[in-house]
Symmetry: D2
Subunit: 334 residues, 4 copies
Amino acid sequence: MIVVLKNNAPKNKQEQLVEWLKQMGLGVHVFTGEFQTVVGLIGDTSGVDMELIKSLDIVDSVKRISEPFKCCSRRFHPDDSVIDAGGVKIGGGHFAMIAGPCSVESEEQIVYVAKAVKAAGANLLRGGAFKPRTSPYDFQGLKAEGLELLKIARRETGLPIVTEIMSAGDLDLFRDVDVLQVGARNMQNFDLLKALGQQPKPVLLKRGLANTLRELLMSAEYIMASGNENVILCERGIRTYSDYMRNTLDLSAVPMLHELSHLPVVVDPSHATGIARMVEPMALAAAACGCDGLLIEVHSDPEHALSDGAQSLKPEQYAPLVKKVLAVRETVRG
Amino acid sequence: MIVVLKNNAPKNKQEQLVEWLKQMGLGVHVFTGEFQTVVGLIGDTSGVDMELIKSLDIVDSVKRISEPFKCCSRRFHPDDSVIDAGGVKIGGGHFAMIAGPCSVESEEQIVYVAKAVKAAGANLLRGGAFKPRTSPYDFQGLKAEGLELLKIARRETGLPIVTEIMSAGDLDLFRDVDVLQVGARNMQNFDLLKALGQQPKPVLLKRGLANTLRELLMSAEYIMASGNENVILCERGIRTYSDYMRNTLDLSAVPMLHELSHLPVVVDPSHATGIARMVEPMALAAAACGCDGLLIEVHSDPEHALSDGAQSLKPEQYAPLVKKVLAVRETVRG
Amino acid sequence: MIVVLKNNAPKNKQEQLVEWLKQMGLGVHVFTGEFQTVVGLIGDTSGVDMELIKSLDIVDSVKRISEPFKCCSRRFHPDDSVIDAGGVKIGGGHFAMIAGPCSVESEEQIVYVAKAVKAAGANLLRGGAFKPRTSPYDFQGLKAEGLELLKIARRETGLPIVTEIMSAGDLDLFRDVDVLQVGARNMQNFDLLKALGQQPKPVLLKRGLANTLRELLMSAEYIMASGNENVILCERGIRTYSDYMRNTLDLSAVPMLHELSHLPVVVDPSHATGIARMVEPMALAAAACGCDGLLIEVHSDPEHALSDGAQSLKPEQYAPLVKKVLAVRETVRG
Amino acid sequence: MIVVLKNNAPKNKQEQLVEWLKQMGLGVHVFTGEFQTVVGLIGDTSGVDMELIKSLDIVDSVKRISEPFKCCSRRFHPDDSVIDAGGVKIGGGHFAMIAGPCSVESEEQIVYVAKAVKAAGANLLRGGAFKPRTSPYDFQGLKAEGLELLKIARRETGLPIVTEIMSAGDLDLFRDVDVLQVGARNMQNFDLLKALGQQPKPVLLKRGLANTLRELLMSAEYIMASGNENVILCERGIRTYSDYMRNTLDLSAVPMLHELSHLPVVVDPSHATGIARMVEPMALAAAACGCDGLLIEVHSDPEHALSDGAQSLKPEQYAPLVKKVLAVRETVRG
């Protein structure tokens, strides 16, 4: 960690700071320049509160040299993590094709889709029971009943289930869910993260609307430092000034997260683009840059014209996509 | 609400859609153009799920004409709301000078600051007991003990207290707090918002890191639709590509929120800029464009050089700021 | 085009507006709702000044239904454009591997790199002679001399050359360049665009730092409406709050631009990421989602350790990348 | 300047780098830590090409300690610059009220507005003759004729004129203009900046759509380093994900630019918000945080209802705004 002091930082305050840093067990090197003094810290700085130091009135800026994350850092865990999601492996060469409808609507619907995506090549089933909605007047999901329907679909197909949890208070309802998803809006709901760190099921952690990769990794760190190492990272598009897409899918996050961390990285092209016909090209691109899985919305209800989601694929569109994704994966892995 | 259909939308699907919209009790007008068909909806569309309609495969886009919020809308409540915060009024001409340290650290500290800011002109005391931190290794606040220290400071000064709640599970601890703050990272923690809507204390709702004004108002709507009309909106800077400031303070939010809503709007220049010497100019600017209050970090601890926060003012800097703010307010109100 | 009028728009002003729109040769349909009146315009609205209408005081908002671009629109030109770049075809199934150093530095350097990238599979040579730099104190390129060196490299290898033009005043110097590049900072330098539209050489138009796809296409429209239809679009990353990358590569631009326009779309993963080891995964991803070419920085100077650019690949890294890109392309094209 | 080397940077390459930096006349201090080596540079580093150093393969990151700008830096020019704009002073306590229509349309219009804004308290006249428009099909301004009409209005009122130049090729037409404006889209059109640096008239430099303050100052540096020290900086809103405003006015730029530079800073609330009723609150806020002037759109044409610009004020709205702005200014200056 590099601490740059202000031009005019008084000597005695500089000494106080150096003393305090040494008491934290750090090696401290002071480098005095013409205009500024720079203090270099050596040792384990992950416990050093960067904001606190930055707030000192003699400090101009603070820069981390080594990253503040430990549990999720590749530096300390060179090998890829392989997460067991209800019997399906994710990461380290194992690929997750997670598919299903946006919302669980009925037993008929979820069982139909589950069978269809399984036949098309999916190995995990997704579906929303608790739905975070911008408006309190929009449909909030079937909640507990939706979870039960997902379990029926799992029984019928053998596919492990992935579904979103919105509150630590609901954890008991999720004991039998295979993968607990944290939505973008809750990426920094730290109480929820801590609670998920105190139970053993894998957590699929979506990147927040406008969060950086470092913040995403620090949120994974909350879960892991609380005791649960089974975290799957998910890129789902970030907020920009895009005019044709709902969000901007940041695929460079995939190789960069792989470089920084040993955790698997999956991509959600459905939410990122919001447009069904953009899902396939973005899924192929994600596979080409090395993601460990894809979260794709697939709906059913062929006789019910109204529910054809603009962002959801039909099962007959999903099946060829799976084939192409696997072919691209094979091509790039050589 | 205007629904634009795709070029090639088949007639029978168009009719299905129109039928379905009519069943929702809406007036439906169809306007057929050369390239596109546009469907206009009349009536109360706040309960219409825009995302659902957008997801239909015959729909190109959906545009709301009237806003989706009701409880917080000025259209239905032309007069400014006046919120009673532990006896201090906010909004409708009443101005809140909310001040205090970033974190509650000790009884001595918080009582000292409370007395100092009261003497300087503050009418509410702020201080963090539960602290949302990006890193699990950073100081997370004194929690329940911090709340008790805030109450001691309130007893000593008479200032009502404002402090952040991070989880619905903690609500019992906050029964005796005057204003419950929702932090930027929890602006779309909908379970927390609903819980805060089911208790009577005023809620200070901070705008999220990259949230729009409509999303902020919809989050206020969650609280109000759950039963609690005492909501104070807070602009605290948004995430951009700024190079010198922590965030970009969006002051145009103040007059625009006043136009859209009857709720009071306060501004937090300390978190927005992260730089103590920028707090005064931004506080004056906020007052000049009509905000209903200011949330400003003031620290104490004059003997403890290290805790001089770069973003916090000293009491002796806060006192003249209060005077100038009130002078600007008087000038613009004429 | 849909014009939404304000609630309280006086009748006589509404009629004036309708009259004026009819005089522009448009079909005008008025649809009166409970709260608002909506005016639908039919016919060729690409010449209608949307900003002007939006600025009328009785108008609430204006929404285009059909896009404002004509020359570059796929609606009017369903087939892919194939651009001839000094004998190399780009678009419509023809792939451009454009490679070379950031700056032209010497004859030895550019000829060495040109031969190396040709051997590795490149079919066009890039290199900067006029360099747009944020600081006036940074190296601004070899300018006219750099162009001459590029021509020498072309003579030696047969590779057509792509290089940036920064000012209409320099056009004479560029008469013999095969492809003229417009940099991100000049994407809305409309005088330069018009001048490039009045000469016949293909233009590689880079997307601006924070420009939308619609703005990119409107800038292409400037060139095409001025008489030059040979435009190649280039995605090179947009500005966000990214913490590890220089910019955020927006790959969803590739399929979306292909849907909106018949022009070829190339991708520059070197500038987008600024990190050499991110270039290959992003190049593969770009190929997987259907781009028509890649602009990649390759440097030489193996004996001169200092010039190993963090964003540039060595020729021995570029050769296997080309092979993988072509393999991915073949896989996704089936 | 601080250069952080990579973990595994080979010793001999480190030495090569240090040698090379010393040859540039810099003091070089090497600080070797446990994980990383940090190189500190002392002396005039404004001529050091940061991108070049960052691109070396042994370098992890580069951080400037002192800013890269010289001519515009307050460090070297502690006193505020006062710019003479056709006889009207701007900066250092002198306030510019620049007003006028978006576009010059006719002699009648511009003379009418010029007289009206002068009566209302404006001391400079603005009006667009060359108009940068996103679409080639939109009105591009009256060009040379518009400049002549502005001069007529100047003759009639004595107000100096401010108008936008889009291309260095047009400079001859602008010899007699009092202040040459560079629009947001041309902020990094470096050839235009250099040309404006080689003529003596003041330049009003607008911040680009998504440019940082450092980039704005470096563009000012281009003009000043070319010989013209008469630069006025202008904040006009930046691009974000705002839902109700055209852009996000970044008022914190005002005090921060004043801290970094001695140049005057004016604010354009009309373009920033795009909404007439937001202009007054934002103008007052800008005055409260210390700006040196305001650029405000005022239109005329009272009999021609259609041209009531949503973003333009009427003269009768502008007059009370001027009074309030001056009152706020007096209040904050004490």
